[in-house]
Every structure is written in structure tokens, then in C-alpha cells.
């Protein structure tokens, strides 16, 4: 028991983003399914291993129609992992869960020609056996960043899983910064800062004045109590070394 207390191993809370293929069915479903069949015929396995979201926003259908559609899709080996824009009345325990807060990404190229594309497609899918690499790969080349030019007030949350967040100002107690990349605070950091939330262990946290309530990198966290007291109020950078959070003064 004492062993557990002296060496706490917190549960890792990680975020991960995947690029999902969003299908927008149109009424009547027979016609739409026929077009889908046509697309699938051009490239067998196009939907294989792809997370698929069904966007039913604005569709005037009832739950039974939706259930039939999901059934028709699964017959075609299209497994729907979530519903977007579904009214509450449409949802049910036997249907995929509702998804919210989706952000648009670049269009996924539909297969055009038959043979040529098939070889290309196999190449593209086969080597990427661990699925997560599919989504972050294009992001790694152009890492977007977000700059906030005002103080982040208590109760406000800056959520930016795509990349780095820079705050020119303070982060108040009770405020929260969540970034996929690193976090830079040009002011006192008094709230929570969570960097590298999409599985980026090389993300760091920088601040002018460390008074944070909680800091986390790639799911490993430390509360204010666990931070070395002599770092408080100093300009500090925080990084991850293996599974330990390290911190040191800057400059």
C-alpha cells in the first residue's frame, strides 16, 4: 500500500485524432447506395480500415430508415463508427454513437480509374499498418499554430489539438490550454496547460512565470503540489523524459 502511495502511477489520459471519412447520404437512399456501389466497384477495399462517419444533418428520416441505411452499409463492408448531425430522436443503443465538434479536413480522393488506382491504393494502405500514422502524417509537414493575443481568463479553454499554442498574456487560475503541440505562455501560467495531447511526447511547455495548477505532456501530468517549489514564479520549460516530467528554469 505504501509502495503505491510513494510511487504514484497516474492513469494516462491521452487524446488522439484520426482522419475519418465522412459520408453524406442523400434521399432516396436506393439511388445514393447505387452510386456508392459504383464507387466501391472501382476500388475494392476503399472503405476497408477507414473510420467512416455518417453525416445525417438535415435529412428528414426516422430511426428505422437510419437503421436500414446503416444495415445496408454494413452489408457493403462499410462500418459506420459514428453519426454526425443526428437529432436526438434518431439515436439509439443499436446505432452508432453521435459525434460532435468535427472539424473539416481536406477532401479524400475518391478512386478514379480501375487498375491504375488499385495498385496505388494498395501501396498507400498496406505499409501503414498502425492506423494512427495515417492521420498525423500530413500534419507533421505543416504544423499549424495558434496565437492568442489576450489574457486567457478563468473558465476559458483554449483547445487546439492541431499544433502549438502561443499565449501573449497570462493564463488565469481556472483556465485551460490544450494543445497537440507545445505551449508557450509569455506571461504567468496559473491555470492548466496540457501539451502534446495527441500523442506528441516531444511537446514542451514554456512560460514566463510558473504558477500552474496542473501541467501535462502526452498524458503524463503533475499537479502544483508535485512541482518543485523552487521553480514557482520562475521562467520555466517543461518536457518529457521517458515517462517523467522534467522542468528547469529558462535563461
Amino acid at each position: 500500500m505504501t509502495d503505491v502511495l510513494t510511487q504514484p502511477r497516474p492513469i494516462r489520459l491521452k487524446g488522439r485524432s484520426f482522419l475519418a471519412l465522412s459520408l453524406t447520404p442523400e434521399l432516396p437512399f436506393e439511388d445514393w447506395l447505387a452510386r456508392l456501389d459504383d464507387l466501391a466497384r472501382r476500388s475494392a477495399g476503399f472503405f476497408l480500415r477507414r473510420p467512416v462517419i455518417l453525416d445525417v444533418e438535415g435529412l428528414d428520416i426516422d430511426r428505422q430508415q437510419l437503421r436500414d441505411l446503416v444495415g445496408e452499409l454494413s452489408v457493403r463492408n462499410v462500418r459506420v463508427m459514428g453519426l454526425e448531425g443526428a437529432r436526438f430522436a434518431l439515436l439509439g443503443p443499436d446505432l452508432p454513437p453521435a459525434m460532435t465538434d468535427g472539424r473539416p479536413a481536406a477532401d479524400i480522393e475518391a478512386p478514379v480509374s480501375d487498375q491504375a488506382d488499385r495498385s496505388q491504393h494498395v501501396e498507400a494502405v498496406a505499409p501503414s499498418s498502425p492506423p494512427p500514422t495515417q492521420a498525423p502524417a500530413p500534419q507533421a509537414s505543416v504544423m499549424p499554430s495558434m496565437v492568442v493575443n489576450r489574457p486567457v481568463r478563468s473558465g476559458q479553454s483554449i483547445f487546439f489539438p492541431e499544433g502549438d499554442v502561443t499565449i501573449v498574456g497570462s493564463v488565469a487560475s481556472g483556465a485551460e490550454i490544450v494543445a497537440g503541440g507545445s505551449i508557450h505562455v509569455y506571461g504567468p501560467l496559473r491555470g492548466r496547460a496540457m501539451a502534446g495531447t495527441t500523442g506528441n511526447a516531444s511537446a514542451r511547455i514554456f512560460c514566463r512565470k510558473l504558477e500552474a495548477e496542473l501541467i501535462a505532456i502526452d498524458g503524463f501530468y503533475k499537479t502544483a503540489d508535485d512541482l518543485e517549489p523552487d521553480l514557482r514564479g520562475k521562467p520555466v520549460q517543461i518536457w518529457l523524459d521517458g515517462e517523467t516530467i522534467k522542468a528547469a528554469t529558462l535563461g
Binding site: 481568463r153 478563468s154 487560475s173
Partner: protein, 271 residues
Amino acid sequence: MGKVIVVTSGKGGVGKTTSSAALGAALAQSGDRVVVVDFDVGLRNLDLVMGAERRVVYDLVNVIQGEAKLTQALIRDKRVETLYLLPASQTRDKDNLTPEGVEQVIAALKNAFDWVICDSPAGIERGATLAMRHADVAIVVTNPEVSSVRDSDRIIGLLDSKTLKAENGERVEKHLLLTRYDAARAERGDMLKVDDVLEILSIPLLGIIPESMDVLRASNVGAPVTLADGRCAPSLAYFEATRRLKGENLPVTIPGDKRSFLGKIFGRKAA
């Protein structure tokens, strides 16, 4: 066209109502036409602090629901004739405040008065958000202690996002009013210092009201402190804040300190 001021704080008991009444009375004594509106529907107090509790017939909710005219609900102060009160209802709750109703009442008051002071309820729910909705100027009342400062920070965030001005891409002018300040305790470290609060909230300072028995005494006799005793320390601080609100640039007096801190405190404008 009058200016709409919201007196807000997030936290309860920091002195919103006392400050609304004191500032209202101070502005009115300078000859401006002032109305103080109590938004704390269900827990009305402003009428007591202003000594009008025995003259309330109609209230804000009656006006919003069309049961009374605005002129019927307004109560004129007996001591300063340019000071009016629009009381809240004690029997209803805040769900009776509708955005459209509040908008109409505020628009009508703006036409008739130089200053419309909205005394916000504590919290960040409907009553508080409706009170700040139409504000041109916000006075954030804060005590020098950590929980009050954090709640004020939260309110400043809401002022920057939930007000009509913020939604139109403009900014609500925000001022910090530090109340119940005790110089001796701040010096001993029992209380946050002025600089600490300013550093955390980073909005300009409107005034520092010292902790004083005079404020309590004034509330108990049903008079805004600036009317009850115009020469006591908190009254002087409220009068000073009023002049600053009207655009004068004068140094903030820090209670317990004879020197003025023009360069150090005032003019520190961030955010």
C-alpha cells in the same frame, strides 16, 4: 443617450450592491440623472441599502411583463432628486427576466438618464448575464482575496464574450473596484496586495475602497455611504472613483498610505 454601467463580480458579498448605491448617489450629487437597477430578482437588497424598501410598488419584473409602466416602477430618492431606483422583485425568480424585456427597459432608461447602473446578482447565470448584456462600462468589484479575484477573472472573460458589445466586435470598458481593502492586513500578508490583484486581472483600477464600519453603518440606516457621510474614507474613495468614471485622470489613493501612486498604480493599463 446615457451610459449603461454594470456592477458585477461573480462572487457574492464583495460589495456590488453597496458600490452600486454609493456610486449612483455620488454621480447623482454631481447633478447627473442616475437610475440604479436591481437585477437580483428574488434576492433584492438595493432598495434596503438605498432606504426605499417601504416605497416599492412595482418592480423590474412587472415592467418586463407589461404589468406596470416604467414610470410607475421608478422610485425617486428623497435626498437627491436626480437619483432613481428600479427595484427587483422579491417574489419572482430570475427566469422572469427575458432578453427582449431587459433590452426594452434598458433602451428606455438610456433615453431618460445620464447613467444606468445595473446592480448584477452574484453568479454567472441568467441574472448576471442579462445584467451585463447591454453594458457600455463594467465595474468589476473585487475583494483582495484569491477566490474573489478568480471569480472576477471569470466575469471579465464573460464580459469579453457574452455582452452585446463583445458580440459586435467592440469591447466593454472594464474597471476594477477593489473593495474592503485593509492596508494593515495587506501589509502583514493576510490579504492580497493591490499590485498582486492588478497583475492577475490586468484591467485599469477605478478605485480602492477601504474596509470601514462607516459602510455597514450607512447600510443599516438605509443610505448609500456617499449620502450618509460624505466625509468618511470610503465615501471619499467612491467620490474619487466617480470622478474617474467621468473621465478625469487622477491618482488612486491607496488607503493607509499618504503618498499618491500616480505612476505606480494608475495608468497601468493592460489587456
